[in-house]
Amino acid sequence: MSRLVVASIGPASSVQDGGRFGAQRYGLTVSGAMDRLSLAAANTLVGNEPFAAAVEIGPFGASFTARDGAVRIAISGAPRNADIAGTPVAMDTSVTLKDGETLTLGFARGGAFTYLAIEGGIKGELVFGSLAVNARAGLGSPYPRPLQAGDEFSVDAASGTPERRIELPKPATGPIRVLLGPQDDEFDEANKALFLNSEWKISATSDRMGYRLEGPAIKHLHGHNIVSDGTVNGSIQVPGNGAPIALMMDRGTSGGYPKIATVITADVGRLAQTSAGTAFRFKAVSMAEAQDEARKFARLIRSLPDRLRSSDTVALNIAALSDANVAGYAVSAVDAGTWQVTAEP
């Protein structure tokens, strides 16, 4: 056995996997990776099941050191500068840390979450089939809380498998697609249009529970108190102040505000990777299109092993290097518990 030690890490970083299903009826939410495609890509690179547990790294930097042997890892998700002792490591590739070597990751350059998968996976105690951290419920393993410097994982010694890169489809751009409902009839046509035709930004006070959206106030037809009913990942509820909240993986399992729309499965990860302050729009699609996209998304996840390539052709990540001169970042002063950062002008 080797160990992977967290040498340094920012807030909003935790162990996440595909999520914890089956106990939403008891109020236990699903948690799991905010960007499932990137989790699956990182895991596939090191030969793990797509939704095995990995380290979800928030927008700040982090570093990890191999101890007692070599450790094979891979990173995917929000792009950032990465190096081992000054030698750059590309996103979407696997790499092996020799005993004593440290992988250093910079701030996310766009997006928020990067996934670090470890060959053989993270060892821990499953609760309802999952290691995912749900800090509010005190669940998650090996640490039932966000990660801190000094934490460590017992991991398999690196297998010596040749390193790989993975060819992912070009990230989709364009509006975040939604299905209207379940309570779109709590809004009149003008307010539905206002929701669909406006530019939105994600507030700095967002977290894994929900993304608060900044834009025009959406008015309800009959007031904002409905009788609580069930929520899903991507439910967009509109509280009394008219500022919508997209519910994310640590959402309450039920909620008492009208839900105007629901982000389609294929786009929840894209919304999760939208940086605070970046303008975006929503677009309503039909049920047929949404379900077609959900099926395509599931097929894409299954196809990931076919997208592995030998990694010796990978040279330096020039784009990463040229982008490295990022402006300063500032943490939200509103709430120290939130993770979003905003680029300073």
Binding site: G27, T231, T253, Q291, A294, A298
Partner: protein
């Protein structure tokens, strides 16, 4: 054969879940139909359904769109959801101890004042109620109860509290609640129970199920402390009786 019941509304909750809505308001009949549909789907599962979440007035049905589409699922759910309700079966009943007032129920005196009566009278009315677990939601084990005495219906606090203690027994609107974990809440806090409706390494992890009956009884703060220690060690400390 009895006539079928009016069909629920099938509301899309994204591409992988459907809200089967029996009523827009809190309604005992609707809640019975929610729980009956939930039971029926558990007894004869429809291929593609991954998880169901009962609430006051609707059943949220999660499904896998690779296995079944929205329309096909709706066609399978509707005949089950419009079946006449089965006869009421015996429900489990929990007797839940509560330390009312003082530090454990910081709103008891204010609630009494607002309703022009004494704290003891509020305790009697709250503990004298016969409740049903209508749904569990928001945070693990938070049991939403129907059956609150009409004289105790009052609107929620203007300013919700950002944190209320684990085990809080509270009322809000026409609802009563048993809260397990510390959480934000806009309800009025009448007391605390040592009972954990959710405890990770205990069997069962979750004590209450939607449909269970609940009554409360008052305990003093010393008893609370004793039972709290026992509960922490994994004892259930609620009394189970057959209704």
């Amino acid at each position: 054969m009895a006539a079928t019941l009016p069909p629920p509304r099938l509301l899309p909750s994204g591409d992988s879940a459907v809200t089967v809505e029996f009523s827009r308001t809190i309604d005992e009949d609707a809640n019975q139909r929610v729980l009956a549909l939930d039971k029926a789907l558990a007894a004869s599962p429809i291929d593609g359904i991954t998880e169901t979440v009962p609430t006051y007035r609707s059943l949220l049905v999660h499904y896998d769109p690779e296995k079944i589409g929205f329309d096909a699922l709706g066609e399978k759910i509707l005949p089950i959801a419009t079946r006449p309700l089965p006869p009421v079966t015996k429900a489990r009943r929990w007797r839940i101890p509560v330390a009312y007032g003082g530090e454990h129920g910081i709103d008891l005196e204010d609630v009494a004042k607002a309703l022009n009566t004494t704290p003891d009278d509020i305790i009697a009315r709250h503990a004298g109620g016969d409740y049903k677990v209508a749904m569990i939601g928001f945070t693990p084990g938070w049991s939403y109860l129907s059956g609150l005495d009409k004289s105790l219906h009052m609107s929620r606090r203007q300013n919700p509290r950002l944190l209320t203690p684990a085990g809080t027994i509270s009322i809000g609107g026409i609802q009563a609640g048993i809260q397990c974990l510390a959480a934000p809440s806009g309800w009025h806090l009448l007391g605390r129970t040592p009972v954990r409706t959710y405890q990770l390494h205990r069997n069962p992890t979750f004590l209450t199920e939607p449909g269970d009956r609940v009554t409360f009884f008052a305990i003093d703060h010393k008893t609370f402390a004793d039972l709290d220690r026992a509960a922490e060690a994994g004892e259930i400390v609620a009394e189970q009786v057959d209704a």
